[in-house]
Symmetry: C2
Subunit: 407 residues, 2 copies
């Protein structure tokens, strides 16, 4: 017997007929004693259609009400999928995020899972049901409906897998696994059989779109093996798991990632006193804007003044602009510059920290290709460079060719 | 200051633009200190569209999952309406049925309100919000989503008005009030300024489609004045209230109602022993099928055998058929006959019980018009006759002409 969580995205459940196909597939793969939880997204473009409906009323985003609206998308999918299982003779029951026991923060549009009490899920599984849970959503302690932000269904799936101690969390997607780089940019990119949470987290954070960083983090925290595999084939995909569980040779360099959803903001002429930088970043945090790379530089020519450059997701630029207006109006800064034509290219692999030559090699390749590096950031297992978006494909191809040819 | 509950149906909120029009109207009529709760149905044909989606998967109805599906319709409307108020500068908050404190029985598709704890509604009103509540839905004590069945949004509105002690519950509809008969059938029908709960209940039960019986019952129980009025004009409609509150002359006869949603079932040759009739009706009750008129006749020619004829809503015939199959198979009855071509015509008015001539007059008119009466049932304030559906319009016109011409 295995306890398995399976997550299907919106394109896999876009029509009642596709839902029926997912049901057939799940029943075909299911062994008699298996207990199965399925996490689904909203059907096809439902979420976008709901956003469009709201936009006909107002151009602003009203957090709580937008989540009330968007959460209906997944609620439709889970109800239909439960009916489809029942029609196929398989007992099934659907749960909203709240019913599945998911409590989130009250950061609407971007809720974080604070607690997961899966008693109803357990009871329903024990009673012989396949349990279908609405992805992307939860409930605050006050009973308000929240959504988890982009890719939230992955997070729901991994969190539930952790809470019920599932043997594996399967993420069904339109690609057949995790590649050393984006195959659309680097045709010779290779599929990996396994990857560690840490490496996947870096890949995901650095722009590999297959899985959301938060979901990978959650998998690592609860030690849930995550199997990223294709909706369209039964082939094995890529397993994300702890290092010690990996039987294969450890590569030093695992992949090259790119992230085009980057905006760079520079605040010029900040009085160099404690508290100013804090104020900027805490106001951004209040608006739920995540800051990624940060560089602060003290000007030599003008004492007591610093410049701060940082990056955020380009999609969060409008929320950040409000904060920037406020800073411009209230704080004594010289100017604020925004550049939304940036991208980030990253090299990922466990153990890179012990090999300084790798960073040097990466910078050399960028230099050889005439690509200017604006900011560098490093972690235990990655090196990232902020560059102009127009050069990012060339950068990824050159870096991949260099490091994967040498192997 | 007034505390007002306003209910808008699906056609009033069919598009974002219509939602905006409702918002404009509410804000125009609202006095500064008024506290307002709005109950809305799903947009336009949403509910039918969701049913169609489910039918692409299965022909059966799965109660719990169908309610999970249908409840999304109202959730979309409330979120959009709250956004529309906010966009107009009016603080507003939306609540699902469960969030508004509505606890129902777990009769899926047909939940009954068991409890209503409107703390969140009160708090939100106190904080200066217009509160928007999803009609037609509630939550079981276990946290499962239920729907209240046909016309459930009226019930939601009146129940909330009762729980928060509203001054009035306004039901906005596509007609401008309650008429002495259906104006589409009887062109000379007249609009009433007021009607008692009891009379309205009879009119509603007997087929006057403007309001659901359960909503009127709820209004009577909590003594909520109900104002039935037009979405399209600001004219006064019909006020449903207690008799003592009515300032106008009491009419003996208030209206002529018709109900075409009727099926007649006859069970022939039932052993005339205690418990047999009970078994039939309790099995129907288990399937949530309401029985309306009942006639039992003991046959003179054959001792120890009875026939029972009863009526149900024609729309519940398929649910009833399951019970009938079971009865045919398990109980020793001679035959079961089903006639789905019946209708009911009713005369309604407080105080009719003391005037036996009225019943005689009604039977005489039907007889004069060659219309056969199959079953008669009476209450304190109504007389109903089951007749063939093909004669019902003629019957209503003749009865209306007779009683309202005499006045």
């Amino acid at each position: 017997m295995a306890l398995i969580v399976k997550k299907f995205g919106g394109s896999s459940v876009a029509t009642p007929e596709k839902i029926r196909a997912v049901v057939q597939r799940v029943l075909k793969e299911k062994k008699t004693e298996d207990k199965i939880v399925i996490v689904v997204s909203a059907m096809g473009d439902t979420t976008d259609e709901l956003v469009t409906l709201a936009k006909r009323l107002t151009s602003k985003t009203y957090g709580r009400e937008m989540d009330m609206l968007l959460a209906t998308g997944e609620q439709v999918s889970i109800a239909l999928m439960a009916m489809a299982f029942q029609a196929a003779g398989q007992p099934a029951i659907s749960f909203t995020g709240g019913q599945a026991g998911i409590t989130t923060s009250n950061a609407f549009n971007k809720g974080r899972i604070l607690d997961l009490q899966p008693q109803r899920v357990h009871q329903a599984l024990e009673a012989g049901n396949i349990v279908i849970v609405a992805g992307f959503q939860g409930m605050t302690a006050d009973g308000d409906i929240t959504t988890l932000g982009r890719g939230g269904s992955d997070t729901t799936a991994v969190a539930i897998a952790g809470a019920i101690h599932a043997d594996v969390c399967e993420i069904f997607t339109d690609v057949d696994g995790i590649y050393t780089s984006d195959p659309r940019v680097v045709p010779e990119a290779r599929k990996m059989d396994t990857i560690t949470y840490g490496e996947m987290l870096e890949m995901a954070k650095l722009g590999a779109g297959v899985m959301q960083p938060r979901a990978v983090e959650m998998g690592s925290r609860f030690n849930v093996p995550i199997h990223v595999r294709s909706t369209f084939s039964e082939a094995k995909g890529t397993m994300i798991q702890e290092e010690y569980a990996m039987k294969i040779k450890q590569y030093l360099i695992r992949g090259v990632a790119q992230d085009n959803n980057v905006a760079k903001i520079t605040v010029l002429g900040i009085p160099n006193r404690p508290g100013f930088a804090y104020k900027i970043f805490s106001e951004l945090a209040d608006k739920n804007v995540d800051v990624d790379m940060i560089v602060q530089s003290v000007r030599i020519a003008k004492e007591g003044v610093t410049d701060i450059t940082f990056t955020i997701a380009r999609t969060e630029l409008s929320a950040a602009q409000e904060v920037l207006h406020h800073i411009r109006a209230e704080m004594n800064v010289e100017d604020i510059l925004v550049d939304d034509g940036m991208a980030k290219v990253s090299l990922v692999g466990a153990g890179m920290a012990g090999h300084p030559g790798i960073a040097a090699g990466m910078f050399g390749i960028l230099s050889d290709n005439g690509i200017n590096i604006e900011i560098i950031s490093t972690s235990e297992i990655s090196i990232s460079c902020l560059i102009a978006e127009e050069s990012v494909n060339k950068a990824v191809q050159a870096i991949h060719a260099h490091f994967f040819a040498e192997e």
